[in-house]
Amino acid sequence: MIIGAGQAGAQAVDTLRREGYTGRLVLVGAETELPYQRPPLSKKYLAGELAEERLWFRHRAFYEEHHTELRLGVRATQLDTASRRVLLEDGVAIAYDRLLLCLGASSRRLTCPGADLAGVHYLRDLGDAERLRAEIRPGAKLVIVGGGYIGLETAATCRHLGCEVTVLEMGDRLMARVVAPSVSKYFAEQHAAHGIRVICDARVAALEGDTRVRRVRCADGSVHDADFVVVGIGALATSALAQTAGLACDNGIVVDEFCRTSDAAVFAAGDCTNHPSPHYGRRVRLESVDNAFEQAKTAAQNLLGRGVIHDRIPWFWSDQLDNKLLIVGLSQGHDRIVLRGEPASRSFSVCYLADRELLAVEAINHSKDYMAARKLIAERVKMNLDKLADPSVALKEAV
């Protein structure tokens, strides 16, 4: 039985059947739609360039052919690991031999006064995207709270559709948690050049309005008029079901390298997990398509007793305006940052190293460095610093 029908849940179905599992397979999902891709929700889908069915990982026939019972639009409300039963909100109880939790993550909520006014949006699922899309029209004033991936991708899409967009970031630069200062600066300039107002060090004090939100008030007294607001201030692992059941949780459901939780019959995969990264030698929780996909694959194999270790170099991407940001690796613990190329050229990369070993690369419109870095990081290659700083030397040759 799999709870959670997102990227990880859908992938687990695929892997379980490919690996020869022939027993009963139930996939439970809180949303009514077939499992679908979330990344386009802030990009092409929001822009109206992609029909809903093009978001689906698989068509309905796939689940039928693979004898998968889909229970969509129903939440799992209780997990009893002693009797190995899951209670669904429609009152149905399902017994399992093995359980895989792919619960995902949910949007962190704004808690200031007015946060629950109509016209305040989050962007996590198709329903969110539909509601947001209904607000978008040329000339509409959009205030975005949070200058991270979701906020900036939404800003870019809504600007493209003619909205007047202001981005309020609490920190002193954009995407501070995930990119280098030079990359933040580049993207701030790109957004500004497209007519998006980017304001950093902005602390939102209140959302104000009447029947719906009309403006956003900041702690410094500044006021920003808004026809609608999008909040993108991070996500929290969805782990209440696991926590209530007594499974070990700590910023996500704690799993080992085999994707096992603290209960031998329960596994977990995707954004909801706090898992070891053997490569980086520490525990991580990742919000990433690649991790959801690969961890679910590994978990599915291990549900069948294969004993496979989940050890990936994580990667991420973001499309903003006409820029593609590609990130591979985790930069924490670096002792050096090397810039390759000039931001003004619109194609450059930032390399993070520890003792000359490449930890992570942020590549802006530079797929060559990104792809080369995936191998160099995995193989723990020691880099040549002089060659590395010379963008005319290919990254894979800078060793």
Partner: protein, 106 residues
């Protein structure tokens, strides 16, 4: 509707009906062609929908853009006829397009 042929490393051959306007990668995924992984869903960010284009068809495809070319350089065993299937849009002219799936993706 155009038909696209995928040859899997196992030798299994798929003839997939592909609506005009979607990507060749999407056509493969819909039918469950195993070797086309396409983790990123067509964003040109992962190089896991890599295919080899049959020689007869190579010149009939619009050439890859820089982003795709850069991805392909470090894909698994790239060849001169390598492409990312997410970057090829199905058109009427591609009816019969024949692609071979590499043994691995990434």
């Amino acid at each position: 509707m155009p038909r696209i042929v995928f040859v899997e490393p196992s030798g299994e051959i798929w003839e997939v009906e592909a609506p005009i306007g979607i990507s060749v990668m999407e056509a493969a995924k819909r039918r469950g062609v195993a070797g086309v992984v396409a983790q990123c869903g067509g964003a040109c960010a992962c190089a896991t929908c890599h295919v080899y284009v049959d020689a007869a068809w190579l010149a009939k495809l619009p050439p890859p853009e820089d982003m795709e070319q850069g991805m392909l350089e470090s894909a698994w065993e790239p060849r001169s006829n390598s492409r990312l299937s997410c970057q090829i849009t199905v058109t009427a002219k591609l009816d019969g397009l024949r692609l071979t799936v590499p043994e691995r993706q990434g």
